[in-house]
Symmetry: C2
Subunit: 191 residues, 2 copies
């Protein structure tokens, strides 16, 4: 049996989960902008010192939350049940991916918008995984032409700042954006 | 004859042009990040106090420069000679627009990237004019499907941060990006 990696001590791991759960609850209730580190520590019943020791800063905590949700989203579109996951045809997966990521962009808008300010996170690991995924679905669906720019164009329409602008200033809804995205994806796939 | 609007006094207008020309020269030589307000005032032979009175701040001066170049670019694609302007067929105009705006995104990267940080400038007047223009060219070219999202997808591939990332991290050139953009535009227009 391989030697296991050093584990977090039980109470540290438990505090981490308490704090992340508390932050998620408060963000869902009030929005990310409205909550302070004090609020999160109080909600979790954990000292503020512990909160800062675990996550360094408010921005650090927010990045951990976003990272965990990105992993769950990746897990769903790479390995999850259909229509997102591998047991559905490529075009169906692509359309489900668009709708799923529109929702993700909307619910994670404050965190993603902040991450967008820094090109390293904007074009970082989650973006690269999504690019590979969409490009592969286009390819498997038999799409012609340059697939790199078609994947990038589809993904740009799921960008959090773009989605926010469409919802806030252009009178769109998640449903209408999903239909527009489907129209673009079908056109590129020739279906 | 209509009454003319109040004109800037001669010396104020002259100083404004001296300062803008000096700023353009220095940006072309050293890049926007490397120049200070002191450099610009010295290059123009104008006092630093005058520079700040005219433009308020470094950011103010940069926005004036960007705004003037955006107007010149708009003038060219709305009313200029072909292939950008109205005397060419719509697909040809669209392809010329893509190549022209890739160059614009590249040469104005620092200013546009800063403007992108603020959704009001990112989705402000120049972006709205470009959206209307591209949408109209798609329509005139007989493009099928939802034209809003196709125009937005094409424009997203001309975004300064995206272009910079492609040139800096992805091994693309303005020429190769122009070809990819052409491939996407032709596919959307069905040509």
């Amino acid at each position: 049996m391989p030697v296991s990696a050093p584990q977090e001590r039980g109470d540290a791991a438990r505090n981490r989960e308490l704090l992340l759960d508390a932050a998620r609850r408060l963000i869902a209730e009030r929005g990310a902008d409205a909550i302070s580190m004090d609020d999160i520590a109080a909600e979790a019943g954990v000292g503020k010192g512990t909160l800062f020791r675990r996550f360094g800063s408010r921005a650090g905590l927010m990045m951990v939350l976003l990272d965990e949700d990105e992993r769950a989203s990746q897990q769903a579109f790479l390995f999850g049940p259909p229509p997102l996951g591998p047991d559905a045809p490529p075009l169906e997966r692509l359309l489900a991916f668009g709708r799923e990521r529109l929702r993700f962009a909307h619910t994670h808008y404050p965190l993603l918008s902040e991450a967008n300010r820094d090109p390293e996170t904007r074009y970082g690991a989650p973006a690269a995984v999504q690019r590979t995924h969409v490009r592969l679905l286009l390819e498997t669906a038999g799409t012609t032409g340059d697939l790199d720019i078609q994947a990038d164009a589809l993904l740009a329409m799921l960008d959090a700042d773009y989605v926010h602008h469409q919802l806030t200033d252009m009178g769109e809804t998640l449903e209408s954006l999903g239909e527009k995205w489907e129209s673009l994806a079908r056109k590129l796939c020739g279906k």
